[in-house]
Symmetry: C2
Subunit: 167 residues, 2 copies
DNA sequence: TATTGTTATACTCTATAACTATA
DNA sequence: TATAGTTATAGAGTATAACAATA
């Protein structure tokens, strides 16, 4: 286990007030009705909100996803988790390394195929996930409130699914 | 005008079939109903679709945004365009450099304040924008079709606006 | 002092090629 | 020959600090 690329480093942001870049004064722009543009702005905003909320436990969105998946489906293999998250298995390695280094998850050699690893949360990881879920629910409820309620959330999820899940 | 960071380089992707990473086989995952996760997947998918569609004229989403804004509101200053796009003015410099280098836009010293530049499309830039708009409309119509029609598009834009434009 | 454009720099995310050890 | 995990590496996007010229 090598010493990994970047030491766990100070991730807290200054912002506090306006998310996005340079406190967007939001004059009207020809891009306002453009799907890809709005999608990018919204995704950026939400991720920044996520990062701010999770700053106290120093957890990034992708890391949270991995913990949550391993929590609900322990024993999945490397490539399976990567596929479920829609990230390349090559990029999943460092992600998993970081979680292992923090003692939150580990790889065990799975019986049959000696190439592959089965992935699990440690007991520390399970405790950690529980407190992460509290922050997560608070974060998600905040988003639902902004959207205008659970129905609006469901509508958004369905629309986004239509973009991604077709053909 | 220095020789800029990265030479115009081969941007075409291989994909052709499945966008996203490692042809997402999309088993159900605990992340399926999570707003930030769905938003990220959708944004990634749409941007990749954008990049593929615009590959023939080698134009990235951010570059297209700049051209379009300068097309409709010529003479804006550096910082104003950056603010409208929600990017830092410091990151806008290289973007504008690239467009200037391709002969699509230019900076002119604006009368009053000798610190600031007024930004314009060149006549080449205007021609280029026209053909870019054709691709754009095709791309956007394709997205609207996936969403299920113009009303679904409007609903999506409105929901995304609620996330970004509040308080 | 504050602001505009700018450079330098760094971290994250995503992507490709190629290695190794197994199968 | 193909697959699972891995390494190395590179390109975009985004962020901060600091500087020169001008206000």
């Amino acid at each position: 286990m090598k010493a990994r690329i970047s030491e766990r480093n100070t991730r807290q942001k200054a912002s506090k007030t306006a998310k996005g870049a340079d406190r967007a004064v939001d004059e009207p722009s020809p891009m306002d009705g453009v799907i890809s543009y709005k999608l990018r702005r919204a995704q950026l905003w939400v991720f920044q909100d996520f990062v701010e909320n999770f700053a106290p436990i120093d957890l990034r969105p992708a890391e949270f996803s991995v913990l949550r998946i391993l929590g609900e489906r322990p024993g999945l293999r490397h490539a399976e988790v990567a596929r479920m998250l829609g990230i390349k298995r090559t990029n999943f390695v460092a992600l998993m390394d970081a979680l292992e280094k923090r003692g939150l998850a580990d790889r065990r050699t799975s019986g049959a195929d000696r190439r592959s690893h089965a992935l699990f949360l440690t007991s520390n990881g399970e405790k950690f996930l529980k407190s992460a879920m509290e922050i997560f629910h608070w974060h998600e409820e905040n988003l639902v409130r902004r959207l205008g309620g659970p129905k609006a959330r469901d509508a958004l999820i369905e629309l986004l699914s239509k973009l991604v899940d077709q053909d």
